[in-house]
Each structure stands twice: as C-alpha cells, then as structure tokens.
C-alpha cells in the first residue's frame, strides 16, 4: 500500500478498525445471541441470562418431530444433489464437447432460476400439475425436481467451469486412440478430472436445498416437514427450542461452507446466492 493518504494516519487506522469491528459485530452478534439464548434459563428481563441450562437442547433433540424433520431435510437435499449431478454433468460434457452451439441456450436456461422467486415456481407447478388425476404435486419427487431447477445455476456453473479449464479435446482424442468409446471417455477420463467442480456444485446444491423453505412449505409442508418448516413452527410458540433449532441450521450451513472453502475447486464456484432467503 503506497501513500493511502485518507487512511494512513492515526485517525485513518482508527476508522479502519472501527469499521471492521462494526462489520464483524453485525455478522457475529446475532448468531452468538442465538447460541447464548439456547442455553439460558431465562433471558428477557435482565442484561445477563438467569442461569445456564441444556434443557432446551435435550428437549429439542429428543423430539420425534425434530428427528423426522432432519431425516426429511437430509434425504431431500442429498437426493437433489445426486439428481442434479446426474442431470447436469453428462449434459454439460455433451454440450461442451459435441454441441458448443447449444451453450448460449443452456446458459439462459440455467441462469433463469435467478430470474423468478421460488414461490412463483411453486405456484406454477401447483397450477400445472394439480389438475392431473395422479397426486404428483405433494410428493417428494416434485419437491426434489423443483430443487434441482432452482439450484441449476450453481451446479451448471461449477461443472462447466471445471470442464472449460480442461483440454477435453486432447483428453478425448488420447482416450479414443486407446480404443475408448464416448461413455468410457466420460466415465473414466472426464469425470475424474471434473470431480472438484462436481463436489463444489453438490455442496452448494445441498446447502441451498437443506435450508429451502418456500417450495417445501407450498408443496409438501403439511405432510412432510423439513427442518426449516419445523423451525418456523417453533418460532411461533417456543423461542428457546427455536433458538437451538436455528443454531443447528447455522451449524449445518457453516459446515458445508467450510467444506466448500477447502475444496480444490473453490475458485471456480459461484459466490453466494445459495441463501434460502
């Protein structure tokens, strides 16, 4: 840093520290408050909590409904990540190597989910599929399919970035000269080389699906409760157990983000926007 006149003096350094401090406090305090609240006996009348307890945690963890909601959330998110991989990875490989002229079309189709609210997709699916004689709208299949749609931007970008970083032509030609067919090339040569992108794509997809609320609530909410739906119900009648649940959700997202940060393909992943906002 050379001659940063505005921020080089003593007051500049102070301003820098205060700004950073406020930013860090804003980002950290709500989570810390939630954590403290979840282990407090009571904390709405006094500055400090009236005693420490693990009762709320014990209660939350022993609830059947909680275990069911975590199981539901985990299965939906894992299913979404796997389905997305199975759909996007071969397609991206095919477009990249065989049909580059279809790339602009795929770009538009996969960025589209950023261009509408999730509740609009829920409305569209219900309006389209609920008149059918078969009950397909309120099924895990429909929920996972809708999750694959809204997480397409993450998976497609992550996989396509790692494909574009490869010399797929040289790799394919080399494999073909050794007698491999298309499927073998994809399975044995390309897949191992785009593992990083597939992993970071899957983590982003998993994290987004795990905390998604709007679609789950509209499509399966009444029958199959996911963790966010369960949490919203608790915020309405038991704040202490809700704070423990919120902390569990934060921890899950934090773990996935840390995995993402340490994954080899982190540079190629799209930042942010996986928030179930």
């Amino acid at each position: 840093m050379t001659g940063e006149s505005s921020l080089s003096g003593k007051s500049g350094a102070l301003l820098r520290i205060v700004t950073m401090g406020l930013f860090l406090a804003f980002m950290v305090l709500p989570v810390v408050a939630t954590a403290l609240f979840s282990v407090s006996v009571r904390w709405d009348r006094t500055i400090f909590p009236e005693g420490v307890t693990l009762d709320w945690w014990a209660k939350v963890l022993s609830e059947r409904g909680f275990q069911r909601s975590v199981t539901n959330s985990l299965s939906f998110s894992i299913a979404t990540a796997l389905a997305s991989l199975a759909l996007v990875a071969p397609t991206a490989f095919w477009v990249h190597t065989r049909l580059p002229r279809a790339k602009p079309l795929l770009e538009v189709l996969t960025i589209l989910p950023f261009g509408f609210p999730a509740v609009v997709l829920a409305l569209g699916l219900i309006r389209l599929y609920s008149p059918l004689p078969l009950p397909v709208v309120n099924t895990p299949f429909m929920l996972v399919s809708s999750y694959v749609v809204i997480t397409l931007p993450f998976m497609y970008r992550a996989v396509m970035n790692s494909l574009e970083a490869l010399d797929t032509t040289a790799l394919s030609n080399a494999a073909r000269s050794l007698g491999a067919n298309d499927w073998q090339i994809f399975r044995r040569v390309i897949l191992p080389n785009i593992r990083g992108g597939m992993l970071s794509g899957s983590l982003l997809v998993f994290s987004a699906a795990f905390s998604e609320f709007a679609l789950a609530n509209a499509l399966v909410g009444t029958r199959l409760k996911t963790l966010p739906i369960y949490l919203v119900e608790f915020t309405r009648f038991d704040a202490r157990q809700a704070s423990a649940l919120a902390l569990i959700s934060f921890t899950a997202v934090w773990l996935v983000s840390m995995a993402l940060l340490s994954s080899p393909a982190r540079r190629t992943s799209t930042p942010g926007l996986s928030a179930p906002v």
């Binding site: 609210p117 509740v119 609009v120 569209g124 699916l125 942010g272």
Partner: protein
Amino acid sequence: MLRHFRLAWLGLVPFLVFITAFELLPLGGLVLSAFSDGGGPSVVNFVRAARPAIVTAFANSTGLSLATALLGTAVGLVIAYLVQTSRSRRWRNVVTALSTVTASFGGAPLAFAFIIALGSTGMITMLLGLVGIDLYPGFRIYSVTGLIVAYLYFQIPLAVLLLLPSVQGLKREWREAATSLGADGRAYWLRVGLPLLRPSIASCFCLLFANAFGAYATAWTLTGSSVELVTVQIAALIRGEVQLDPALADAIAVLSMLVMAAAIWLQRLFARRQGMASR
C-alpha cells in the same frame, strides 16, 4: 453431416425434457393464464391486479430491494476496499470465510436470530439500552426497517464476495501511474478506481436487488403477513388464504418475474462489461 448434427442434439433430450417439465411449462402456464380471461388473450388480470394491497406489496418489495441492494453494495465495497488495502493476509481470509458462510445464512434461522438479538427484549437491544440508546419504540424488528436490517445480514457478505475479486483486480501499476501524475488517494479512487469498478458495482447491485426481491422465508418468519411483500402475497394466494382467484395470482407472479428477470438481465449485461474491462 445433417444426421450427425441431429444426433448431437439427442444428447440434450433428457435435460431439455426435465427443464420443460419443471421450469418452462409451469412458468409458461402462468404467463398464458395471466394473459387470458378464460376466452381469449387479454390484460384484464393485470388491470385487476392494480388494487391497493398489491400495489403496496410491489412498492414495499421494490423499496426493500433497492434499499438493501444500495446499502449492501456500499458497505460491501467499503469492506472489500479495507480488506484489499490491509497489510495482513489473515484479514482477507477471515473476511472471505465469514462472508462465504453468512451469505448462505438466511431464511427462518436468520429471522429468528434477529428476533433474539434485536427484538424488544433482545440481547443487543438491552446492551444498547445499558449505554443509554433506546431502540424501542422508534425501531421494531417486525417492520420494514427490521427487514432491511435482517436482509443486510446476507446482502453485505454477498456484495463482499462479488466485489472483492474486482477490487483485488485493480492493478498496482494504475495506482502508481496515478500517483506519479500527482493524484492523491482520494483523486485516485474518484478518477481511476471507482470508474474502473463501475460495471462490477452495477452488476453487484442488480444481483442483490433480485436476491432481495425473490426472498420469502426471512420476511415470512419475521413479519408474517403484517408487511405486504410480493412473495408473501403469492404464497398467501397459494394457500388460498386471501381468495380463490388463480388468474389474479398468475398475473402477480408474472409481474414479479418481469421485475426479477429484468434485474438479472441487467446484471448479466454489466457482468459482461466487467469482463471486458478487466481484459
């Protein structure tokens, strides 16, 4: 050759079938239904949508998105600048890690954390009261202002992640060239740094706008239906709480898609320009 070309498209069939079934048809159906009155093409549903509650919802959603996109981008830029100009690499790692995690915090857990922190008996509310700052009754977390604060929690880190690469991409030589021509820090940023960053800032703003406009879970957990927002209205129409008027719901949904798609289209436009500028 022609046969080869057609065969290549066959490889896309599974993907295109999936996209058609779960993205294009559902959304296309909404558009068709919104533009018809049962008999033929018509805009009558959009005329009917111009009622006070819906106009308020669009005004609130737009205002909330503009405010949090503007504040988020501004604060994110300041943080990115501080990180870039700080001497220690550790700061960069801490802020990047923190931003990556918190940009993905959202929805119900976040809304609830803000009730615990900034509700009327919240931790920060009481701490501030201790030093003589009374938030209540001037401020309420269950209000539009409260929503702005909560949304900023994921908007600011997202802006940091989006802007940091561009801020770091400003070349040292440009700075040295400006300094050798007599520019001080302020002149460099006003005349060189910020103009170079303009496409990145604009694309960040658009993305944050769309991010806030489509948000639902945070607002629903925090304010329920007491603050009219577009997504909250659409969700209420899905539950059939308000009234059973599908065509009207479709019209509102189509309008919300127009707003968000426009924001994303602009974002792509600016992002492309940003790509050209950094070449």
